[in-house]
């Protein structure tokens, strides 16, 4: 099953490599990984999406917790949560395609952030399925380049992951 694990990590050199190293050493999957400092500059927030059986996920969270630089973590998929991913996509846009793409972008509530005579660059945020849906809707033939940020997530409601 797909899981989103959110980690508060000491913002120190080498901390990220320990997390990434753990996944490869122990043969766990990483589907996406995002990391950036938080409002507290001593901490980074890292979000990793992974797949595995419950037993594997339990091991992943336990092994992550063993890393000295991991301060706290939560498996967001255990409760209600919001996930978002940002995508920038370059699409071939000539002739009648231009209007069609514009319509699709509007439907998906995206924005065209750069325009040339033959190319639209579209920005789109949402959960991973929505981004996949957009690519499917515009058709892969017109897609010139895709950049995805990887998933960021946060729990719904009062729950917070902080010190």
């Amino acid at each position: 099953m797909r899981r989103i694990i959110s980690v508060l990590l000491e913002n120190e050199p080498g901390a990220l490599s320990r997390v990434v190293g753990l996944f490869s050493q122990r043969n766990y999957n990483i589907e996406t990984l995002t990391v950036a400092p938080t409002e507290d500059e001593t901490l980074s927030r890292l979000t990793v999406t992974t797949t595995g059986s419950d037993k594997v996920i339990e091991q992943i969270t336990k092994q992550l917790n063993k890393l000295i630089e991991v301060v706290k973590l939560v498996d967001l998929t255990e409760g209600a949560h919001i996930e978002r991913e940002l995508m920038l996509v370059k699409l071939k846009a000539t002739g009648s395609q231009r209007a069609e793409i514009k319509r699709t972008v509007d439907i998906f509530r995206g924005q065209i952030v750069d325009v040339t005579s033959s190319v639209y660059t579209v920005q789109l945020a949402g959960d991973s399925e929505k981004l996949d849906g957009f690519i499917q809707a515009v058709g892969t033939a017109g897609v010139l380049e895709v950049v995805r940020s990887g998933v960021s997530g946060i729990a719904r409601g009062e729950k917070v992951l902080s010190l």
Partner: protein, 572 residues
């Protein structure tokens, strides 16, 4: 406040940490540190002949004393040579700090001479690693390193020290921190009371219980509590290879050790039990055999300081995260208070069954007058040393024979590389023990394959006068490899035969030691007595043993715990 250079701060920190010995080898990036070492006499340095041996020495010291070992090496090859030793300590959770020189900060990343990314290289095999970014940090980094290495589930910690951090003419205020602050590292200090209560209820209700103890009991210094609990309950106990000595082997409640080469009665008792109390053990694949066939009727209570060890391979019904000594102490109190008592009828019929298993095999082996059996050598050594020696081994058949036939009644005396299985571990580990236990008998039981992996340390033994006794069970082959080839590859002995062995006696003599060769069974006892009487000499005892012997019992691959070969022809 005192002003000290980075190098002097490092050595002072070691002094303030109470470090008696460091094992190491100098080189360019570590020379400021070596100079600081020269200008003091509190911390003694042991110069090895290969950095790997320095780590095994520190490891042997740590296993025998329960205190963290310390290693000092230079950058590049000095550092990378320690990796096998670090991995060995990591797999067996041995507390250790490895101080590595590094090229000066401004050269890092430029492929400078003797530069290696030691933080990156060591990362998968350390509990943690730290690098020094400013000389002022040194006392804090050292304090942190020892704190992390020796608390919780212990393990090796590497400290990477760029050369410019130890420059002699830059001085800083020195103060050794009393406490370490780490917001993200808080090892459990006691177990969950509710879980402990539940575990005790289950223990007292069990009809076919087994206590399964591991190296965590020794690392957690909980042998006394364990022994008390086992005796109070009257239950059978088995332990892992790493747990040898955590409970007296000569006691009748002890079934020997379990797993791939464990005793018949241990493996049978585990398989047929209805309750397993696992204490500081990690259900390693060499214990469980096929996990899906593991102990089908047993519920499992698992006590471990490391939550990640619980339900990793075998699911626990009652997990208890905490230090084994504290948890066992609470269990003892609850068992004493409890009105429930173990069902004596069930227990006596369980013991009757176990005694039948014990009588059935009893660690028998075939023997004759012509050839020395390796098992006989170990039994003789055990007799002649009253089971009281420190025994360090290498890896292979000799290691299994030593574990099976030397009876350890005390913890911290059986010293072997259980998790990683590192050939070359034995001699340096024995040296590390002998250095701090000069009046105790220290044996290095080895084979002609393993001993050659760190034989250069005979020179270190001469320099520091370390009269260990090297017992070489010489079968002129890589015995365990050969055994597997006999059993699984129709005796195709691919690369397991050692041609052109050295004359070990002359070799030992050339390093300034004594050598004794034993070829005849009739000489075994007398010659071993002679060797053990040579208190002040390192003696290399080269014993020609049966070349065709196998280690039994041996679990059948992919079987359950009870599926074993008991001899070359007998399978149960």
């Amino acid at each position: 406040m005192e002003l000290l250079s980075g190098a002097d701060m490092l050595i002072r920190s070691l002094q303030d940490e109470g470090i008696e010995y460091i094992y190491g080898y100098p080189g360019g990036a570590a020379l400021h540190i070596y100079d600081a070492l020269f200008r003091q006499d509190k911390v003694k340095h042991i110069l090895v002949r290969h950095e790997q041996a320095a780590v095994h020495m520190a490891d042997g010291y740590a296993r025998a004393t329960g205190k963290p070992g310390t290693v000092l090496v230079t950058s590049g090859p000095g550092a990378t040579n320690t990796i096998t030793g670090i991995a060995t300590a990591f797999m067996d959770s041995i507390p250790m700090v490895v101080l590595c020189g590094q090229v000066a900060s401004h050269l890092i990343g430029e492929d400078a001479f003797q530069e290696t990314d030691m933080i990156g290289v060591s990362r998968p095999v350390v509990k943690h690693n730290l690098s020094v970014r400013h000389p002022e940090e040194i006392p804090e980094v050292i304090r942190k390193a020892y704190y992390i290495a020796s608390t919780g589930r212990p393990g090796p910690v590497v400290v990477d020290i760029p050369k410019d951090m130890t420059t002699p003419n830059e001085r800083y205020e020195y103060a050794y921190p009393k406490k370490v602050k780490l917001r993200s590292y808080n090892p459990a200090i006691r177990g969950h009371a509710g879980q402990i209560k539940k575990a005790v209820d289950m223990l007292l209700a069990a009809r076919r219980p087994v206590i399964y103890a591991g190296g965590g009991v020794i690392l957690g210094k909980a042998s006394d509590q364990l022994t008390e609990l086992v005796r109070l309950l009257g239950y059978p106990i088995t332990n892992t290879l790493m747990g040898i000595g955590c409970y007296p082997a000569s006691d009748k409640q002890h079934l020997g050790w379990l797993g791939m080469h464990g005793t018949y009665e241990s493996n049978m008792a585990m398989h047929h039990s209805d309750l397993i109390l696992a204490v500081g053990a990690r259900f390693d694949d060499r214990v469980t055999n096929a996990t899906e066939k593991f102990c089908p009727g047993a519920r499992i209570i698992h006590i471990d300081i490391d939550p990640a060890s619980i339900s990793k391979t075998i699911d626990a019904d009652v997990p208890i995260v905490g230090p084994v000594d504290a948890v066992l102490k609470e269990m003892l109190a609850l068992v004493r208070e409890s009105k429930e008592k173990p069902d004596s009828d069930a227990l006596s019929s369980w013991w009757k069954q176990i005694e039948e298993w014990r009588a059935f095999h009893g660690m028998r082996y075939e023997t004759n007058d012509d050839v020395i059996k390796p098992q006989e050598v170990i039994e003789m050594l055990c007799k002649l040393t009253n089971g009281d020696a420190f025994v360090a081994t290498d890896v292979g058949q000799h290691q299994m024979f030593a574990a099976q036939y030397y009876k350890f009644d005390k913890p911290n005396r059986w010293i072997n590389s259980g998790g990683l299985g590192t050939m070359g571990f034995g001699l340096p580990a024995a040296m590390g023990i002998k250095l701090t236990h000069p009046d105790d008998e220290v044996l290095c039981i080895t084979g002609e394959g393993s001993i050659q992996m760190n034989i250069q340390e005979l020179s270190t033994c001469k320099q520091y006068n370390l009269p260990v006794k090297i017992i070489n069970l010489n079968n002129q082959a890589l015995g365990m490899v050969k055994q597997w080839q006999d059993m699984n590859y129709e005796s195709r002995h691919s690369q397991s035969y050692m041609e052109s062995l050295p004359d070990f006696i002359k070799l030992a003599e050339s390093y300034g030691h004594k050598g004794v060769r034993i070829e005849k069974k009739a000489d075994l006892e007398a010659k071993l007595k002679e060797v053990l009487a040579m208190k002040d000499d390192l003696v290399f005892v080269d014993i020609y043993v049966d070349r065709f012997e196998h280690v039994y019992p041996m679990q059948v691959a992919r079987g359950s715990m009870k599926d074993m070969w008991l001899s070359k022809t007998e399978r149960v």
